[in-house]
């Protein structure tokens, strides 16, 4: 029966809500027995929905969920060999600690002496031995969490689902509980599926991390993979701090960004391809240069490097002035501005006070290249209307006569709008179309925004202006920036 040895097999699961929005969009995930898998993502990314589908509280609209090779997609939660630790613990307030933990055993009609033995064991496991007859309301958050875990593991489930179990605890408590959870996972040997929005928690705890955004899985990998080899800008931005810059892959192992060329280790992107470059702040070496020396670009030997920290070799270097410096406990976090207008976040154990002229370099293996999802142009499908207008993004736009010459009214066309040419207006009703700032990425010297229009389409914009997530904007595109192309043949047939 079993085609594979996966304990949990989520196959192309989608969950659509009544309003038509997808909480999960074609999600597939395989989990092996004994794994600690974390589903990580910002709020509203669908991670909890996925967990609830596995638990059985929600039924997937499409796709199958297999547990031990058995299809459980429509099985009620009480029949599934999984148990859940809820975000707000969900302890029964009318029962004491012992009764709460024993709840599952009682339902199965376990003998009293056996039950007592197992409850004691479970409570010992979570270090709550002396609290058996306490009222659950009298316990602290951390203690309630332990009881909730004991209640879930006592049934010896094959899978333990944890829905942001530490979210309500304070930082110190959270760190302690993280270690305990990991320890518990080792001892119990059961599969843990853990949902969190805390990337540090995910990296600390898991064997594998599943990064989700907008109902889709972005990347699945070990914590080191996810951190060192993010597959897209979202993951790079969400996991840890990063400098993300637009660059060009000149050829294999050679990339240009910040107006310089660097050696790197990535291949297979093609020649002169636009890419995104990710540099982790802690991977950037920084040192003080003499005043005025930085412009010469060859100050190697005279650089201030008393501790011999800077790797010697033929690395591309770049220079700038420290703009700000914040002490972060273990390291300092500096923002360095280069002459050509790029900002870099750099972390170092040494302090570089604002105003210091510094040099920077990064080793080739620390340069992470990401294929660009969209570059230069937004592309949409559109239709030519009367009076020199075209329709796309559910709005009507004026285009110059010259653009329309080869088309007649009713023609389906492909529209291109350069990312740089989309204008965002403070007042939403001043634009042809309005929308909301949906995702912001700082690219060193400009911002790349994703604007979600009120009709649900995404528009990418390069801008130098600062916007906040959730800002309402008016969208304006100058007529001369709207480029019309013939539809690829197939499109015409359909029309």
């Amino acid at each position: 029966m079993t085609e594979n040895n996966y304990l949990i097999d989520v196959r192309h699961v989608s969950k659509q809500f009544e309003d038509g929005k997808y909480a999960l969009n074609d999600v597939s995930l395989q989990v092996k027995k004994g794994e600690f898998v974390t589903i990580l993502g910002p709020s509203g990314c669908g991670k909890t929905t996925l967990l609830r589908c596995i638990a059985g509280f929600q039924v997937a609209s499409e796709g199958d969920i297999l547990l031990n090779g058995e299809d459980v997609t429509n099985m009620p939660p009480n029949k599934r060999p999984v148990n859940t630790v809820f975000q707000k613990y969900a302890l029964f307030p009318h029962l004491n600690v012992f009764e709460n933990v024993a709840f599952g055993l009682k339902l199965r009609g376990i003998e009293k002496s056996e039950m007592e033995k197992r409850v004691k064991k479970a409570l010992k496991m979570v270090s709550m031995s002396d609290y058996e007859y306490r009222d659950v309301d009298s316990l602290s958050g951390g203690q309630q969490q332990r009881v909730a875990i004991a209640r879930a593991i006592i049934n010896e489930p094959e899978v333990l689902l944890l829905d942001e179990p530490l979210a309500a605890l304070d930082l110190k408590m959270r760190k302690d509980m993280q270690l305990e959870l990991k320890e518990m996972h080792k001892k119990l040997g059961i599969t843990f599926i853990y949902v969190t929005h805390d990337q540090e928690e995910a990296l600390t705890l898991s064997d594998r991390v599943v990064v989700m955004n907008e109902g889709r899985i972005q990347q699945i990998g070990t914590p080191t993979d996810i951190y060192n080899e993010p597959v897209n800008c979202f993951v790079a931005d969400f996991i840890g701090e990063s400098n993300i810059l637009s660059g060009t892959m000149i050829r294999d192992r050679r990339v240009a960004f910040c107006d310089r060329e660097f050696d790197c280790v990535d291949t297979g992107f093609g020649e002169n391809m636009p890419v995104d470059v990710v540099l982790r702040p802690e991977d950037i070496y920084i040192w003080e240069t003499g005043t005025g020396r930085r412009k010469s670009d060859v100050p190697d030997q005279s650089d201030y490097d008393p501790e011999d920290r800077i790797p010697k070799g033929n690395f591309t270097k770049w220079y700038g002035v420290v703009e700000s410096c914040i002490f972060k406990g273990v390291h300092y976090e500096m923002v360095v501005k280069t002459d050509n207008g790029y900002e870099f976040m750099v972390q170092d154990y040494h302090e570089f006070v604002p105003g210091t002229e510094v040099g920077m370099l990064v080793k080739p293996e620390d340069i992470q290249i990401i294929r660009k999802e969209h570059y230069r142009y937004n592309t949409f499908n559109g239709e030519v209307l009367k009076n020199g207008k075209v329709r796309f993004l559910d709005a009507e736009w004026i285009v110059p006569e010259s653009q329309l010459q080869s088309f007649v009214v009713g023609d389906k066309v492909q529209i291109r709008v350069p990312l740089r040419e989309v204008e965002l207006l403070d007042y939403e009703d001043e634009g042809t179309l309005s929308g909301e700032v949906h995702f912001i990425l700082f690219k060193g010297n400009h911002y790349q925004l994703t604007i979600r229009t009120d009709f649900g389409d995404d528009l990418f914009v390069y801008t130098n202006d600062v916007w906040d997530h959730g800002d309402r904007v008016g969208i304006h595109i100058a007529p001369e920036s709207i480029l019309l192309d013939k539809m690829p043949d197939q499109g015409n047939e359909e029309a």
């Binding site: 638990a55 059985g56 509280f57 009620p76 939660p77 009480n78 999984v82 148990n83 859940t84 809820f86 975000q87 707000k88 969900a90 302890l91 029964f92 307030p93 009318h94 709840f103 599952g104 339902l107 199965r108 209640r151 879930a152 049934n155």
Partner: protein, 265 residues
């Protein structure tokens, strides 16, 4: 020394309420006690109570009233709990509309409703009597049962129900082991809200039984209304007995889960 400031302390603002409480609650209560333990001439006595316990008819009426009140409460609970449950869990996202359906009748004076009920019974030539009385009482007091239960169910953390399913409980077990125990504060205040007024009701019984059935409330009403000043002391004693019974019922059940927790107040 502190300066006196009329707006200064919150306590100042409580005075009107205290005055109201003394005038309309404490003083009448005190008067009832005083009247109950005195004869018309004002001498201290327990004659009034002795008279009640000696009159078989009065004691019977008292027991009968309690029985009717209990029966009404039980029927209201049996009807009200499912109604409240359906309202609280219904997928129709219109609990406002649903509560209107149950609360709307309360906008109309209960005497009017009772009179209308009498007319309805007459129209379908159903004889008035005990059945009509029970019907009328349940009809009038059902919302008082539904509302507190609905409130507790509505406020119940849905994740508790999910947790119970998650731990292996089937639908019935989820209900008996989680939902029902957690809704006891609502049930408790529902019972009090229905039982208390039904013990002392008299208008409904008089209208719906053509005065054939006398309830304890009517007894008190008659003592005050028809007996003349001579009977006031007896009436006060009856009132006190009823108050004690109602007081006892309030001490039923879990003291920690006061009716106010069920969203009654």
């Amino acid at each position: 020394m502190k300066k006196f400031n009329i707006f200064g302390s919150r306590r100042t603002w409580a005075w009107p309420y205290v005055l109201f409480l003394v005038l309309f609650v404490l003083l009448p209560l005190l008067l009832i006690v005083v009247y109950a333990f005195t004869d018309p001439e004002g001498h201290l006595t327990i004659k009034n109570f002795v008279q009640f316990f000696r009159t078989t008819e009065a004691v019977n009426t008292f027991i009968y009233s309690l029985a009717i009140a209990m029966l009404t409460t039980i029927i209201c609970l049996l009807l009200g709990y499912p109604a409240a449950y359906i309202m609280a869990t219904s997928e129709l996202k219109t609990p406002a509309v649903m509560s209107m359906l149950f609360i709307l009748p309360m906008w109309i004076n209960f005497l009017l409703r009772t009179l209308a009920t009498v007319e309805l019974f007459n129209m379908f030539s159903i004889p008035l009597g005990e059945g009509a009385l029970l019907y009328g009482m349940c009809y009038d007091f059902l919302p008082f049962m539904i509302y507190p239960i609905y409130n507790t169910l509505q406020k119940m953390d849905k994740s508790l129900i999910e947790a119970a399913y998650d731990l292996g409980a089937n639908r019935l077990e989820v209900f008996t082991k989680v939902i029902l125990p957690l809704s006891t504060p609502g049930i408790y205040s529902g019972i009090i809200m229905v039982f208390m007024p039904t013990v002392s009701t008299f208008a409904i019984s008089e209208l719906l039984t053509h005065n054939k059935i006398t309830l304890f409330g009517s007894l008190i009403q008659r003592a005050f209304g028809e007996g003349g000043l001579q009977m006031w002391n007896y009436g006060a004693a009856l009132s006190l007995i009823m108050l004690i019974i109602i007081g006892i019922t309030s001490f039923f059940g879990d003291k920690e889960e006061s009716p106010s927790q069920a969203g009654l107040i």
